[in-house]
């Protein structure tokens, strides 16, 4: 389980998907002057962004110590699906407009693993489509987690107040729950 620089072809596939979902150029901005590295564990590949000057020493063979994680965890690729980590969401929120802002009550429910219903939504762009992953923010712009839209943004006004808008994918309550 040695960290390796991400293969350029694989990185391109991943960033194309990423940019498609969160906006053109987002993955490049996210990477900044860091290097992408990966650690394979069974059928899961974890991706990390690390300072470039770490790369040389990371690829050295170490028998006594196993690298468990490093730098910023970007997410995990499993069975073709890329699960974003909580850690990357703060930076991602600065770069994308795929955002969903919720009320205080909605924020509390969301951080208890609940999904988001219409009455909790303060802001959602009408151009966003069902299935889109959105970063969930509270009214102060603090990142609470990630959700998948259950409806098109332009249909929000027509929904009843108790209807599902965003399915909870991951939230910061996981830090307390130990998930």
């Amino acid at each position: 389980m040695k960290p390796e620089l991400v293969d350029p072809v694989e990185w391109k596939e991943l960033t194309d998907q990423f940019d498609n979902e969160f906006g053109y150029g987002v993955s490049k901005a996210l990477l900044g002057d860091r290097a992408p590295v990966t650690i394979s564990r069974g059928d899961t590949k974890s991706f990390y962004l690390v300072p470039r000057d770490w790369v040389g020493s990371l690829e050295e063979e170490r028998t006594d110590f196993e690298v468990y994680s490093l730098g910023i965890r970007m997410g995990d690729l499993k069975e073709g699906k890329f699960r974003l980590s909580l850690q990357i969401l703060d930076a991602l929120a600065e770069l994308t407009d795929k955002l969903l802002v919720v009320s205080q009550q909605g924020a509390e429910a969301f951080t208890y693993s609940r999904s988001i219903i219409k009455e909790s939504v303060i802001k959602l762009d009408s151009h966003l489509k069902r299935g889109q992953r959105v970063i969930v923010l509270n009214k102060d712009g603090e990142v609470l987690g990630l959700a998948a839209l259950s409806v098109d943004g332009n249909r929000l006004k027509r929904l009843a107040s108790d209807r599902l808008v965003g399915k909870n994918l991951v939230d910061i309550g996981a830090y307390l729950r130990g998930a």
Binding site: L58, E60, F65, Y68, G71, R73, G173
Partner: protein, 321 residues
């Protein structure tokens, strides 16, 4: 107090207070009767909760304002810019600000350990026995997320909580390694500083966990002392010339603290204890139980429940010539 008298007194006190007799016997030999009773009484008092503001995510004033609205009072810890005594209405870990990584619930002695290490931006720092990450995240904070913090732990479950805390606190300059820190000299990194907050008997944690009055035998303390010696030896061997290290434990036992450091000074004449330029605690012991140790042992520091209102802790700063 004569030996027989001491044993009898220890037996009586142990029975009355729920401790194992060997513990009281050692306290009596170390401190005398009056101070032993003060210690026992202090261990029945609750330790005030404390938090460390995570300056990677928020400044102290902003956090103070936010928590004030939630009826949380923060009072500064004199020698720690980022440390606060805190009074919470409910659980300190359940607030939104905690999930957001704005603060870390951490004992004042633990925060002090990292402050004594004094890591600087751009350095390479090794944190041995790092989980659950209080000190790792503090080191990263003091290094402003630059340089490299190498956090080592052996336990898979504990490493998960280490990673979780690193992510919650927005730390981006850490490498988590799983492995046996006794093999530190084979790591292949040259650190500027090493922090070894060693796994120990936890004898200083009695105020937080009363079960420790009876859960640890003298054999356990000897076992811990052997492991502490091995870990410190490995850390010293991995430290380059001119490097700094901090050795600490949450034990009050001289057998796990001053004795261990004294042995290291004997084996490594290039190591020396250096003064800690912060005002806290009280000096370590240079003659515990009447045993003569290196006199620079008084430069080490101790936190003790009956003197400082905290859990018991030992902190020693060392440098390699």
């Amino acid at each position: 107090m004569a030996n027989r008298q001491l044993r009898q007194k220890a037996k009586e006190l142990a029975k009355a207070t729920g401790y194992l007799p060997y513990m009281i016997e050692r306290y009596l030999a170390l401190w005398g009767e009056k101070e032993t009773i003060q210690f026992i009484e202090a261990c029945e008092e609750q330790i005030t909760t404390s938090v460390r503001v995570n300056s990677l995510k928020i400044d102290a004033e902003a956090l103070r304002t936010r928590l004030h609205i939630k009826q949380v009072t923060l009072k500064p810890v004199e020698w720690l810019d980022e440390g606060f005594w805190a009074e919470f209405e409910g659980s300190p870990g359940s607030l939104f600000e905690h999930m957001l990584g704005y603060y870390y619930v951490q004992g004042v002695p633990s925060m002090t350990v990292t402050k004594v290490l004094d890591p600087h931006p751009g350095e390479t720092v090794i944190d041995v026995a790092a989980a659950p990450g209080g000190k790792t995240t503090h080191i990263a904070q003091l290094m402003e997320n630059t340089g490299t913090v190498i956090a080592i732990d052996e336990d898979r479950q504990r490493i998960k909580s280490l990673e979780s805390n690193i992510q919650r606190c927005g730390v981006s300059n850490a490498i988590i390694l799983r492995g046996d820190a006794k093999k530190l000299d084979r790591l292949g990194h040259t650190p500027d500083r090493i922090l070894l907050d060693s796994p120990c008997s936890g004898e200083g944690l009695i105020p937080l966990d009363p079960s420790r009055k009876t859960s640890t035998s003298m054999a356990d303390i000897r076992f811990c002392a052997t492991r502490e010696d091995q870990l410190l030896e490995a850390a010293v061997n991995a430290l380059p010339s001119g490097g700094t290290m901090v050795y600490s434990t949450c034990s009050i036992a001289p057998e796990e603290n001053e004795y261990i450091v004294d042995e290291i000074l004997h084996r490594h004449p290039d190591m020396r204890i250096v003064a800690i330029p912060l005002e806290f605690g009280s000096p370590g012991y240079s003659q515990p139980y009447g045993v003569e140790l290196n006199e620079s042992m008084t430069l080490t520091r101790r936190f003790l429940p009956h003197l400082h209102g905290t859990e018991g802790f030992f902190i020693c700063k060392l440098e390699k010539e």
